[in-house]
Every structure is written in C-alpha cells, then in structure tokens.
Symmetry: C2
Subunit: 399 residues, 2 copies
C-alpha cells in the first residue's frame, strides 16, 4: 500500500527505498530515496525531524555514521510517509521525477578495497592466461584475496571513462611500449558501503556485518588489461585499475535484502573461525550487463565463494580500522555459464573469441561503447528489489 | 640570523621551517612550524593575516590546497617573523617548547600509495626469497612499481603498533595457520604529500612535481612478512601492510630542500618520456634507523632508482587524479652497504642472520621494540635540514 503512484512491477517499491544523493539544476546536493519513478527529497522532507541534520551534508556519510538504530528509524519514517495517505499533502511536494535529477556519488568514499571472490572468475582468468588452472593460487580458498584501490577515482555513474594511457608489453614484444590502453575492460561487481567505523587494533567480528555495513550498490571496476598485465608483478594491479571505478547512485540498505539472503556455496576447506558467520550473507542478486544496449551477460551474485560478511571480517582481522564511507567490492561476479561472465576478458576469452554485441563484435571495449550494469534481487511477496544501474561510456584517450 | 635562541647545529633552523599539527593538553589542534627546540603556533601567529584562515582547520590540508604561491608567501612571512627582531614581541608568546607538545597527523590523508623504488632493496628481497635475482621483475627498470595502501590506517608517529593477526603459511607447512604475525618488520621510507590536486583524465607532467607536492616526510611502512607472503599472490600486499603505516609529524617543504637536490643515478634503459624530468629530483637525505635506541642502519635516499617526481608522473599517467592530502611513499630505502638496509628483513637476511641490537639480536621485531627513523639533508651554508622522526613501539597482539 502506498499513496504515490508506483508503476506496476516497479523495482523501487516500499520494500526497497534505497538512498542516494542528487541535484536538480541547482548546485545543492540533496539526500534522496528512490520510490517508483520518483525520488523523495529526503533532505527537505526530514527537516524538523530528529535525524534531519544527518541528511543535509550533500553526502550520506553522516547518516551512515549514525548507526543501525538511526538507519532503522529513518527507514521506518520514510516508509510511513509514503504508505500512509495522511502524510501525502506534506510529502507530495518533495517528490521529484527521477528523470529530472542528476545523481552524484552517494558517499564520500574513505578507503576503497576490491576483492577477487568469484571462483569461476578466478578459474577463467587462469585458463585464459595459462591455458590451465595454475593461476588460481593456493591461498584462494583460505582467504578472500583483495587489494586496495584508489578512493579518489571512484566516480559517479555516468561519468565518462577516459581510456587510460600507460605502459604495456604484449607477450611477444621484446620491449614495452607506451600509449593508449588497447585492452580496456569492465568488471561487474557488487559494492558494500561501511556505515559505522571501527577502532584501530580491533578486528570486526563477522557477525557485526549488518551493524557495520549500511548498504549495497553496484560497481564497475574498469580495467586496462594490457597495463595491468605489465605492471602487476609483484605488487598487484595499480594504474590498470586506478583511472576510474564507477559506483551506482543508490545504496540499497541491508534491511531491504532480507528475502535475498540465501545459503552460501559449500566451502572446502572449512575457513578459519573468523570467517565463519552465524547467519548466511550470500545474496541472490542477478546482475545484467549491457553493452550499447545489448544484454551480454547475467552474472548470479549468489554463486560467489566469499560473502560480503567474510570480506569485512578479513579486511579487519589484522586490526585495520574501518571508516564511515569505506567501500569494498566483491570482485568480478562470474557464474558457471558462458552468459554469466562478469568481464569482457572472460566473455571474449582473452579477446580470442570476440563477443557478439548486437550486429557487432567486441574483443575489448572501443571508444564510445557504453557499459551498463544493473541488478535486482527478490523482495517480499514476489516483488523485486532494484539496484538501479552503474553506467559509463568510454571516451577516447587524451594522448 | 634569528632572534629566538636556536641551539648550535639545530636541524630546525630558519632554512628548514617544516609544518606540522600539534596540541598542548587542550583538544584544539593547531598548525605549527618547528624552529630550534620550539614550535611556532602558526594558527595563532597567522591570525589577521590573509592566509590565517588556511591554518585553522587542525590539519594542513587547506594550506596545501592553496598552492605554491601561498606556500611561498607563508614561508616568507614565517621566516621574516623569526628573523627580524622587530617581530619578537608579537611572536614570542606563540613559541612553545617542542617537548611540551603532542604531535598529530599533519594532514588528513586522502589516498596512500607506496612504491618499490630502491634497486638494492628489490635485489635484496629477491636474493633473500629465491637465492638469486629472479624476483626482480622485468618491468622494474621501466616503471616505478607501486600499489595502493590503506589511507585510514596511516597513523601519527608515536601511535603504538599492535602486532597484527592473520593467516600465514611457512614454506614447509602443508596448511596455513592463523595467529599473531611472527615476522613483523619495519620499512624506512620517504613520503611525499600532495598539495594541489589534479583533474581526472589529465596526467600530471613530471615537471609539475614542485607545484603539486607540498613537502616531504618520513614513513614507516610496517610489514608483517608472514601475512604478506601468504596473501600477496596475485593481487599484492594487503593485510600484511594495512594494520598501520606511521608518518612523521613534520612536512619539510620542497623549498627547504634546494641544497639536497642531487643528480639521479643513471637509468638504463632510458625511461619513457613521461618519466624524464628537466631538473633532478633525487634528494640527498640520510636516514637513520634505531631499534631500542641502537643505530642499526643509515640508508641513503639519493641512491633510489626512481625519484618522487617520477613516481608522481607515473601515478597519474593513466589519468588518475590527485587530491590534496594524497601521500605516496618511496618504498624501502636501501643502499648498497650492509648498514644501509632499510628493513629488518634485509638487515637479518630473512631472519637467517639475526641483527645485533645493542646486547641483543633481532631476526624480526619483538613486542616492546621501539623503531625510530630519522633523517637529515644538506641545507644552505653547511647547515642541515632535519626531518624529525617517525617513531613506533610494537604492542602485543590482541588475539
């Protein structure tokens, strides 16, 4: 039940209510909640509420820092405003068509870490590069492998992605060369945004996941495979990733994902105790990847070997502290089927089997290509919870 | 010439004037300039000046963002205040004994990246782990290898370093185990702090280095070698580093380092054009490492293969943007001699040749060990420019 007109089958019903930051022509950034085809201007609607001051910063960080009791309170109030007709007169003026807004980064990102938690992705990468499974390292099933990325180049969905320049050395070349990346790729990932920070020296127990993490979004971890291949030994990816990482505008609260929680794939060997959760945190999101409007893949997030809860526990087991606004991403989401692969590297098998994209084919991304990653998950009563999309178009290199 | 009493041979004369952030019992953090054994309370002294508002934030970020013209203006004014007796009556009340202050992080760190730019360190690491030079990768002389670290765990000098827990697998073990790190190490490094940010998609030309980078500090890149060894394939160091990175309190402006600039070691092969600087940016800093008060090494920074200017150009050549407060570090500084090694890993040759530390020996750090890294560089007229020190004591693991 709700008084605003919600389109039939909307992915943004009252059981979703994801948070974002938007503007409308004016320069002021406002907190918003997506509902149907509209956005509730939460900054305006919350004026006078006890939590109103948390929504006036132009980023969601103050709300995130306030912790799970406040998250629950705000969510309950927003739902009440939209469900009960007696609030319609006051709230209606704060509803804006979603088509009329510009979305911004929902949070000021503190640290950004990226994992590598899809077993099928790890296997595919190994087979593509070596022809065998030798590249799946011995540590892979013992810990969620990850690395830190560049927080300052996490960009809002829609930001053009300029093809990076850099060094690369094709396997057959004797010497490296410099120029625009030739093997530009996307990686479809799921991101987790930390609300409540932690103290240096104190690991975060895995079961604190829902009290530390505010919500979930989509991430495109753009990757220049040729730059990455040349630079990554021995310290991992650097410039092959740091030119841009795109983040979807809407943070879906964990509270909206109760129906999406599913049992985790079996883990063998059994992980160390700090990686064992009392409750399952695998999430049944189905991602969809479109290149220039053509659906090319539908990766199933529930197949990930390591969950967001395990990643959080691992990230902090050495005592590393969390800060409000920390973003960590799942790593490329790749399922067992061919049309469930989460990167073009896999979809084109290292460029050797170009992928059909409408009438055309792609080994890697070309200038002008638009990549859109969207997702949805089961909600209550057969409804679906939408994540919106993370979108980016490749712009030509500057060199 | 100066009117405050400066101790003979001080490393903090009027040609140095490094910036930091301090407090004195009260909770308010103030900008300060080290001079002799004292600190000028710059926040107070600059009240009423055109740049006073840049010094009231409790971190130096606003000053750093203001750019090189303002940096030069502030430096000239501070020098004038301390050099000309006519300012003594006004300025004297703002001088505080350095022994009476608590130092804090000088900047809010935006992104933190770490390089690997000492050739001798790379060679030593390879020999320790393989017995040969096989681990120095083919890319090493073509680009300054680096990776992103965790900005949120960059801590002020003096912060206790809690021994991290995590997974490790000794080479002879069949399975990994979990527990407190056994091979805890330091890495003596030089850090560069970015003042003026740059735009996404626009590489920063190498010769903009002195207009982008505000100053230089010391960094201890604490490393748990056993955690790092097990986790690093294929995405590089993660939890083996992210538990703590210590930063010295004083940012020495590049303007204080003119006499420290020396020709760079020959580079063969000649690097790509974006890595070729018109002017030399090797810096003749001599580091000193003390464990529990005993001098164990004196690494010479001038021997680094890649300079801070080259690292900056590389970091951004893919279009990655800079932000005010970005910190990037040189990587372990290791010279050719045994007593010039910048890590205990090297000084104890992987633990096989324990290092004499006073009456004791160390393979790796023990609980309670204090590591102090200090440095100085040539200044005008035979004076030396001091960097102060970055200090940390190992606290027992929490597990």
């Amino acid at each position: 039940m709700s008084w605003p007109d919600l389109p039939a089958g909307t992915l943004f019903g009252l059981d979703n209510l994801p948070y974002g930051v938007f503007s409308r022509g004016e320069r002021i950034r406002r907190a918003g909640v997506a509902v149907g085809d509209q956005v509730l201007d939460l900054t305006a609607a919350a004026e006078g509420e006890s939590f109103g001051h948390l929504l006036a910063a132009g980023v969601l960080n103050p709300l995130l820092a306030a912790g799970p009791d406040v998250w629950a309170e705000v969510r309950a109030r927003v739902r009440e405003w939209l469900a009960e007709p007696r609030h319609a007169d006051r709230i209606r003026p704060h509803l804006v068509p979603r088509a009329d807004i510009v979305s911004h980064l929902p949070v000021e990102v503190a640290d950004y870490a990226d994992f590598y938690s899809s077993e099928q992705h790890a296997i595919n990468a190994s087979r593509i590069f070596t022809g065998g499974d030798d590249l799946v390292p011995a540590n892979w099933k013992h810990l969620p492998i990850g690395y830190h990325g560049r927080a300052g180049t996490v960009v809002a969905s829609g930001t053009p992605v300029i093809r990076p320049a850099g060094q690369r050395k094709p396997r057959k070349a004797a010497e490296p060369s410099f120029g625009a990346a030739k093997r530009l790729d996307f990686e479809a990932e799921v991101g987790f945004v930390v609300g409540v920070g932690s103290q240096l020296g104190t690991p975060v127990p895995i079961d604190e996941f829902p009290r530390r993490v505010f919500g979930v979004c989509l991430v495109n971890d753009w990757s220049a495979r040729d730059l990455q291949g040349w630079e990554s030994q021995p310290l991992g990816p650097f410039l092959g990733k740091s030119f841009a990482t795109s983040m979807s505008p809407w943070l879906v609260p964990l509270a909206a994902l109760e129906q999406a929680r599913v049992p985790q794939p079996a883990q063998d060997p059994e992980p160390f105790e700090y990686l064992r959760a009392a409750e399952p945190w695998s999430l049944d999101l189905t991602l969809e990847i479109r290149i220039n409007g053509h659906l090319v893949s539908s990766p199933p997030f529930a197949t990930q070997y390591w969950t967001g809860a395990q990643q959080l526990a691992h990230l902090t087991v050495n005592g590393a502290s969390l800060r409000t606004g920390d973003l960590y991403a799942s790593g490329t989401v790749t399922g067992p089927a061919k049309d469930q692969r989460g990167s073009l590297l896999e979809l084109s098998w290292g460029g050797r089997e170009p992928l059909a994209v409408g009438e055309e084919t792609r080994a890697f991304l070309e200038d002008g290509d638009e990549v859109v990653i969207s997702a949805s998950a089961p909600g209550p009563g057969g409804a679906r919870i939408g994540f919106g999309e993370v979108r980016g178009t490749v712009a030509p290199a500057v060199v």
